[in-house]
Assembly symmetry: C2
């Protein structure tokens, strides 16, 4: 019997071999495979929905909460949206082979910087089964093979989806090893995946503290973390308070469970007594629990709970908001520097100089002026689909789309040049 | 007494604080610091040369070889070239604040992708003391703080250089903590540096197998490896053999101790008997030791030593060349795939289709057609100076110049947009 380590290594080796084959294909051939995948998923729909039912039942009997069951559920709507997503990715222009720069040197050498696939990408994710398809399809569009490690609660759904993906690849004449799902939910598989230096070119962990911690402490391959979003909105003294009100409601309430939702509201002391009482009332009316500092509690009334230091550092992903009154831009900046997660942060103000100072100083993937933080998303940015939101600064920052899943190489064309 | 761990952590923390200050500066201010650094280095020249003499004497008494002593020596010529390098970097256009893309979305959001510094970069290098200055100056130009860990044999030279760099920063009104040299050559400092997740944004190890292995197995921060160059020249059946002769001599002999020099020559069987005997003779005449496969030994005569599998995987960095006769493109490609280091590989041929297949299939940072591999270099590519040659595929590939030492962030400007 082979060990888990040997099994995972073999699977990554096959992905590497497949990636070499993909790298030589024309983009049209990859698009053909995406089309075939759409068809095999459609055909396998009953089988996939059946597998999803098994996961849902197991989840229910294990006592999973409603929110988690909802994420797990591959509803007819979610299935159709998944199929539409494939079509959208297929219709994106391929970045492969694109010449990013060309220089002709004084010695006549023609130096071209050309987009190429990265190779094999490992993606570790937790929740929804449709991520299996979204991620596989994006990686394939960029010419990469992918090794997927989904959440244990979605194992049957993911397996059925992966089988349909492999059938699509085969039907298009591509190696089915280009999309691999780890055939196990053993947690030991994560450190093993982290060690596959010979075969993996990049590892993308999408998830919370525990997962990121495991990956970072074991990884021997390059990692781009998709970590949490502790997003701030700072309502500055010169804000249009009606605009601020709409932005705050949107950033907190429109979809609280996602990483680009606001977790902390910072309010300039100068306008706090004018802004906070009504804002707190309105948020409370929408069912938001408020945890505030002393001034906020003073202004917001008895319904505001006291915030602890831990609150400033917490990604609630829920209808909970921490609120702090600050002395102007400087204190807002140091709060964000200390507690932010370098994801998305916004200022609301009509003062251009203060806005520009905020945009320059906040070291986050996306900084907003007079906008909700909820737009940090590949689709909203016009990148097409996304594999997630990078909270790292190397290679890709913010939404990672097809282009961010590529590398480049230099192609140098000469006529016999030698160096003096 | 504080521990080595605490000392290094404190130093990285100071670099982080300094990096925040640098990120807010205008590029002109950074250029002013580069100018000041040039002046303080010039003023400290006697002190630095004295420190270099101490290292050289210690090296001699420890029995360092001539090549290593030569690398260690900060000759008047090397010193002047180092100062000229600073001036060149200063005169490069700054990438900071540059808008890489701008999209105006249907909802009116203006999304700008803007070049920003990475933050704090750790660089671990081995040999020459002038690297201390080259790397510090490039990082500073890109708005980054840097933590340097040089080779033990150059410790006095590096310390004297770092002191002059700090003086230059202070004179320009910048925090001297922006350029830090580890005040120790204890090997334990490398794993400690690798764990500074809170403060380091990137780690660049430049060196051989041992160093890279240590860094990769300990790193908890993103790493861009500058590993070895096992570079190939493939003389294909349709090559202009006179051109091939010149390229082979240049790639092997012009400067054998650098990473972009050729280590393995692959020759198409069809022209081997025509090409190899003369080529071997000429290389031997230049003092090159040849290690060949059976066919090469048959054609090259008694002076060709037998090559082992280990030879194909060895970066000699010396006047030694391994030579193998292959059956056309396919065998050349699989040899490079198996033994190459993804650095720089060249084909010599007059057949465009074969050349294009080679350029597409070889998965290296730089692929050449009818050129010596010796051009893989920031200066030769027109990037200005370089911090080294990345052999990784994430973030930067091949020569890393100022631009590759930056990240980006999205700056989004709205007028109250909220998400539906």
């Amino acid at each position: 019997m082979i060990s888990l380590e040997e099994e995972i290594e073999a699977l990554c080796r096959e992905a590497k071999t497949a990636s070499r084959e993909l790298a030589r294909l024309e983009p049209a051939k990859l698009d053909g495979a995406l089309e075939a995948i759409g068809r095999t998923l459609e055909a396998a729909r009953p089988r996939i929905e059946e597998a999803n039912r098994i996961d849902l039942e197991a989840g229910r009997s294990r006592g999973l909460g409603a929110a988690l069951l909802d994420r797990l559920h591959l509803s007819p709507k979610a299935f159709s949206s998944m199929l539409r997503g494939i079509e959208e990715v297929r219709s994106l222009p391929s970045p492969l082979g694109r010449i990013l720069e060309e220089r002709i040197r004084p010695n006549g050498l023609r130096i071209r910087k050309m987009r190429v696939p990265i190779g094999v990408i490992g993606v570790i994710y937790e929740s929804r089964p449709n991520v299996t398809v979204d991620v596989a399809v994006l990686c394939l569009k960029a010419g990469n093979a992918v090794v997927l490690r989904g959440g244990s609660e979605a194992f049957h759904s993911n397996s059925a989806l992966a089988r349909a993906l492999a059938e699509g690849l085969e039907r298009a004449g591509l190696p089915s090893a280009a999309i691999q799902l780890l055939p196990t939910v053993d947690r030991a598989s994560i450190p093993i995946l982290c060690r596959q230096r010979r075969y993996l070119d990049l590892l993308i962990p999408r998830g919370g503290y525990g997962l990121i911690e495991t990956v970072v402490s074991h990884a021997q391959v390059p990692v781009i973390k998709h970590f949490q979003g502790i997003c701030h909105v700072f309502v500055e003294a010169h804000a249009d308070l009606e605009m601020a009100r709409r932005i705050v409601l949107n950033a907190k309430c429109q979809r609280p469970a996602v990483c680009n939702a606001m977790e902390t509201l910072l309010v300039d002391r100068k306008i706090a007594s004018q802004f906070l009482p009504g804002m707190v009332r309105e948020l409370r009316g929408r069912g938001v629990e408020i945890r505030g500092d002393e001034t906020t509690r003073l202004l917001g009334g008895a319904e505001v709970l006291p915030a602890t230091t831990e609150d400033w550092a917490t990604e609630y992903l829920d209808l909970i908001l921490s609120v702090r009154v600050v002395d102007g831009l400087t204190e807002a900046l140091s709060h964000i520097e200390q507690f932010g997660s370098s994801h998305s942060d916004a200022i609301v103000t009509e003062d251009r100089a203060i806005a520009e100072e905020f945009l320059r100083s906040v070291d986050s993937a996306v900084v907003y002026w007079n906008s909700s933080t909820r737009f940090t998303d590949g689709g909203e940015f016009g990148l097409g689909a996304e594999v997630g939101i990078s909270t790292d600064k190397i290679h890709a920052r913010g939404p990672m789309g097809v282009e961010e899943l590529t590398s480049y190489k230099y192609v140098v064309i000469g006529s016999g040049q030698t160096r003096e």
